[in-house]
Subunit: 467 residues, 4 copies
Amino acid sequence: MMATHPRQALDLLLRGQRGTSVFSDLRGLQVMLDFERALARAEARVGIIPWATAAAISDCCYAECFDQTALAGGCALSGNLAIPMVQQLTRLVSDISVEAAGYVHWGATSQDVVDTGCVLQLREFLDLLQATIRQAAVEFATLTDRHQDTPMAGRTWLQQAVPITFGLKTAGYVDVLLRHLERLDELRPRLLALQFGGAAGTLASLGDRGPEVAAALGDELQLTVPAISWHGHRDRLAEVATLCGLIVGSAGKIARDLSLMGQTEVAEASEPSAPGRGGSSTMPHKRNPVAAAVILSTAVRVPGLVSAILGAMVQEHERGLGGWHAEWETLPEICTLTLGALERLVELASGLEVDAVAMRNNLGLTRGLLLAEALSMALAKNIGKARAHAVVEKITHRALEERRPLDEVLREEAEVTTHFTGPQLDRLLDPANYTGAAGSTTATVLAGFRSRQAEWNAKGAVDHAGN
Amino acid sequence: MMATHPRQALDLLLRGQRGTSVFSDLRGLQVMLDFERALARAEARVGIIPWATAAAISDCCYAECFDQTALAGGCALSGNLAIPMVQQLTRLVSDISVEAAGYVHWGATSQDVVDTGCVLQLREFLDLLQATIRQAAVEFATLTDRHQDTPMAGRTWLQQAVPITFGLKTAGYVDVLLRHLERLDELRPRLLALQFGGAAGTLASLGDRGPEVAAALGDELQLTVPAISWHGHRDRLAEVATLCGLIVGSAGKIARDLSLMGQTEVAEASEPSAPGRGGSSTMPHKRNPVAAAVILSTAVRVPGLVSAILGAMVQEHERGLGGWHAEWETLPEICTLTLGALERLVELASGLEVDAVAMRNNLGLTRGLLLAEALSMALAKNIGKARAHAVVEKITHRALEERRPLDEVLREEAEVTTHFTGPQLDRLLDPANYTGAAGSTTATVLAGFRSRQAEWNAKGAVDHAGN
Amino acid sequence: MMATHPRQALDLLLRGQRGTSVFSDLRGLQVMLDFERALARAEARVGIIPWATAAAISDCCYAECFDQTALAGGCALSGNLAIPMVQQLTRLVSDISVEAAGYVHWGATSQDVVDTGCVLQLREFLDLLQATIRQAAVEFATLTDRHQDTPMAGRTWLQQAVPITFGLKTAGYVDVLLRHLERLDELRPRLLALQFGGAAGTLASLGDRGPEVAAALGDELQLTVPAISWHGHRDRLAEVATLCGLIVGSAGKIARDLSLMGQTEVAEASEPSAPGRGGSSTMPHKRNPVAAAVILSTAVRVPGLVSAILGAMVQEHERGLGGWHAEWETLPEICTLTLGALERLVELASGLEVDAVAMRNNLGLTRGLLLAEALSMALAKNIGKARAHAVVEKITHRALEERRPLDEVLREEAEVTTHFTGPQLDRLLDPANYTGAAGSTTATVLAGFRSRQAEWNAKGAVDHAGN
Amino acid sequence: MMATHPRQALDLLLRGQRGTSVFSDLRGLQVMLDFERALARAEARVGIIPWATAAAISDCCYAECFDQTALAGGCALSGNLAIPMVQQLTRLVSDISVEAAGYVHWGATSQDVVDTGCVLQLREFLDLLQATIRQAAVEFATLTDRHQDTPMAGRTWLQQAVPITFGLKTAGYVDVLLRHLERLDELRPRLLALQFGGAAGTLASLGDRGPEVAAALGDELQLTVPAISWHGHRDRLAEVATLCGLIVGSAGKIARDLSLMGQTEVAEASEPSAPGRGGSSTMPHKRNPVAAAVILSTAVRVPGLVSAILGAMVQEHERGLGGWHAEWETLPEICTLTLGALERLVELASGLEVDAVAMRNNLGLTRGLLLAEALSMALAKNIGKARAHAVVEKITHRALEERRPLDEVLREEAEVTTHFTGPQLDRLLDPANYTGAAGSTTATVLAGFRSRQAEWNAKGAVDHAGN
């Protein structure tokens, strides 16, 4: 029955392969079995069960051996996936050893398995997330490096404001991605904590051996053993959701920028092209921004999903009713969508086709008005700030009304021509000369990026050497 | 590749079979093909294409003939499912007639197919939704009928307030469900509208025949032809989401009530039991409220999903970027979760085990204080409102402080015993006698329900006769 | 203390005067007092209290007589505004008649007052909302009428697609606004329901007179008397929130469109100008789209607020804990923001400066590629669909690669020039000739609008005559 | 006009004094003026303007001197508060020195002022937030210390599961609060960053002196100078919102727990009482949980507000349209509600009335079934796990069916009495003896708390010494 109702048509578009794999049903089952195996081994290590029992249990902890359809049915009846998983596992183990079967899941509660399994999946996810954010940062750093002297219109409230460089824009992207990596580093140790408390957090069925088993179990799974079980306190998981929310917000901002730059009328940048990509059979001029569509749709969806996770935190007593269940699909949804959006961001950044000529042309659209501030500042040095402001206002109003270039109008203004020669005015009205601190800012961001990148590489080398 | 990453383990628990089927990938593909078939037939009807062409196209419009994996891949590339669907369909048709293949999807745009397909799925969904709400209303009406004289504590701010009847409580459930059915009726005609505008809503590729084709197409699909295409105006779809949000809110309220009544300490009602249902291996006394868990988790999740749909309404120009894409999974998610929750509500209502004795016992927990108001009202008739209030305040404070029954304390109070005999006081302090308008209110609600039910039956009979 | 911490700096910008007035503290207090006055009168009408008592109470029901600071303090202590309001009212009445003071709020519970007061405020709000949506529809209908033949680029995925008319775009706005008015009409009778149930919905303190008092009270306030009180069922109020969510989504869509059209590079429409409006001291060319900013910010905020209202529906038992309290500020927030956004929409629509020349110029940006479909359709009649498609593909690719106008390239193509004369090609490549059903669609929408408008006027005349 | 529409009636209840003050209009204006003063001083320090000019400007930077009504009106026209603020400030300064008036706001853009002002307010807020979380942690640590040996029922899915201690429950509260403090520490340095970029982030109007001015300005305001301005990247602010979301989720969880414990039928804990607090005139036995109501309502509201902030992150280009505006009220709303909820949590924790006897009594409600697991574990040591499980299952089923105490039933069972004496069974069935690792866990949490507390005190002492 399960085989007939998949809902995966959009997975490849919206989530990509990697995130979908981490949070597949099969993987979700395997991490629960990893818990059961580790629990058996931990109990053998502290001497609560024989090693042979642990071995018998371990030998059955392979997701492929399980009947997923039966699991889904058992879950519908019992209310969570761990119960039918434990039942099937017990049956499998009892084929090897009836004795051993009695020790399956010994001392643990369903939520211990489900929550720890979730943490194990999130560990894989965080690695992918980190790698993908880094990739995106690298791509935008490359663009920044390449375009630090490419002038374009700075835009505020969707209106051209004053000139910037494209490198300054992408430096902002690099900067925010580095901040997200920092947050990810901070969150990781909090998240990677074992869940193991038994029915109500006391591990009472293990007598006074609970903490010992917990320590061994944490060691088996390479997870921190927290001071107290967190069945009813969901901040660790919710924090992953909120971090994803922040990351997706930034990805959405970038995708919005780039898709606006890709408008037919702006035409400053476009998504990488490929056969069949974003094409339209009847509209040959169109190149649909598929990556931006994916990222923006994710940016629309994730905030609501985050709010669900936050709302779900209000869980009753030792283990709650409904709130816990609300996390099961929502958290993977957030993670896979976030990763999918970031993969698209990498693709977008790495293949972006930038049209510096169009940027330059667009700088001319206001017929020089974009540089009114520059002119005003220059004039002020000669005739004072107040007077300069008045003169520029007069000129710009005339330019606006007569729809003539500022360049032309100002050369008719004595108070301007007295103080500036023609070539001086040319320089003054070249947008490339009015980008202020764009260059130094960009350099600072790039320097910061490179130092972080060096750390990653050093760390990566160590990690690699350590393998 | 698709087969290895399903995420369906929780479908049966959270969504049930029916909703999952309506929104499966296969069904989603079929409704798009239903559009293509209807379009070909419509164009044949108005004479734009030959009937043989329409027949060739129709013959290929079977979802089972399509390669779903290739669809997913094509979708990832092109940005929506309609493009690879049309490509596959065209290939299939060209095996029959190269000529006909040229007329596949003639005049339509991707969004026409996707949106109309979505409306067709929602039509099926609304039928299921309506039927399930009606079932729930029937079940709660039955409970209301049975328990209109079963006294229990009314509770406000989680504190016992004054007595009510259990029938009054469930009458409230019936009442709100009827209101949701009314909303559903109102929404339906707005929703069931064809989407057909071509690339930008002008149907220009059909010359001046667009409206004619649209009319025929609407007729084929039994959908209204709206005054104007609605590619960029998503209120029709978003309204389904908001209605689901309202319904789920009510379902959550009911599940909250019943799960609170099922607490070990309250024990007034419990979920139906079944072998394996909500059981706990190590805690024999527990019967986990699985249905309530499902409903409450849905009530936590759906509001955020609704907010995503509302946020997605801000779509650009003739067809938007990102907002449209955000709907694709979110709307089915809302619908399937809503239906799943309602199916659980029906199950909960129909199998609810009500313990009227426990209700009665709980009415005694405040040692009579629950009836202070009743006493005050009765006394007021004899000694005036102000004096009555003062006397009752004195008595209740003593009862509270001395932790003695009000019944006992008040019989020591002259101002009370002067006016009431023992048996009169017995009657006064019987919670069953202080339920005010509960009876008439319940009767009114039930009468309203029955009249609605008669309408459904009449309508159903007509529908049936019409088949 | 209260006077020192107002948070109103943004009210005029974001909410406007009218909505802010309806939901001011003073008005919020007055509607509660309206309830108390009506309750006293209702109880006098059915003979439960003397008319003199009702008169004494009525005489004190003026918000201006109350100490708002004390109310806020009392609310902080007791947990809702009705309790300190009743206390102050009782004190005021007791200055007139100690006897009468005993009958203040007789039979009602705090939530009866707060909820009914809320409904009274919402009634005022709905009137304003309806009037403002109608105004917006009128303005967009005027634009539609004026611009039904103004060609512009239709845009999908932020790319130019095929030509439309500006009238077609605004007709879409009219159409959706009419749908919202329909929803509003349907919601109104459900919403305008009295809340009156006493402590737990039984009106027990009124003995068997509850329903009678309720009927008289409903009559006093011109509210429907529902079958059962709805303290724990919040769908009526939540539906207002969801309707606002839908409306704001549409307003956001329109504001997004118009702000995109107002980009420096597009320049097809701009917000009305006024001294000081959206100006920038240093950037004379900028005209900040203030109305769009307000509407879009509201469209970002309201979905989350709606989700809060939906989440708040899960209220416990007869009167809930926390959920009810969550509505108090959230619902007015939604209403005032919605009304503020709509007022801005009216302002935007009525003062919109449309630049038809710019629209025409932008149609030329793709150098004719926008009309590839038109050419293909025309050619197909001569050389068959498949061949036409191939020819046009060849031509458009050349035009794209060589960055030359389609017009120029296609005149070099024998298969084209064989079938079309120069003037024929001129006509074919004029975007104004490829707007398909735009004209008839626009006419249909306008006709629908006018018929609705006639109904409003007729209804308004009747209402007026009735006064 | 402003004075007549305040919406503050609920401030004291929901937000408390402190948060309301930090985010009042007056304070919001003052922080903008703090920016202007600091900017003038910074520019004087680097020699761009004379010190006399800076002094003239500084002398006018007092919020009390401003016309708030005019500000609101100017804001409605110009679209943000900074523009009319700068206009009024310029007028005030020009009364002192026309020359100086020309340098007001020199080089800054509106968003520089608004954003930096917001950061300054958030700095105050974070201090209050930290102090309040610490207070709550202290209170719950005190309860933990006091109740580490107070047995109560552990509850899962709203059903009694196995015994815990009340100290274990509150230890969980302490633990999560410490984690939130950790997050707050991490967030702070990221947040406390200057916003200063001029019109589009280049500071071009300051020529090449921009970075220098920025450095001096950061120094004046004691804010970090970030590598690049963050007008379009809102993660710093959004992170405050998400942290509040996490904190409120935890507060809601605690309030839910305590309010469930306060139900009439459970009666294990109740909110502190005070005259007038949560009272009900007609229901003397009720003590409405006002603090829980406030916290829970906040927990319902904040997730949706957080989603709005996340949704608002998608801001266009250098400074966005609508997204920025959406933050202005939403962020203060989140902060004030969070602080208000936490203040209530402190109040709740510090005044909580705990009824250990009721806890003990409730442990008996299942007639011993709560200890089935304990019995099973004990028996297993004698007769093996499988057999023990079977025996206990038999006994518990009999107890359930016959509604008799487990204690009684099991003494009829030979397999039990063979292995345990009467007193042994007594011990076994005492819930206080089956709390497993509760004691050690509680001790670990308390030790962790004390070490953190020592750090606060040490840090506080240093801070104090430094003053």
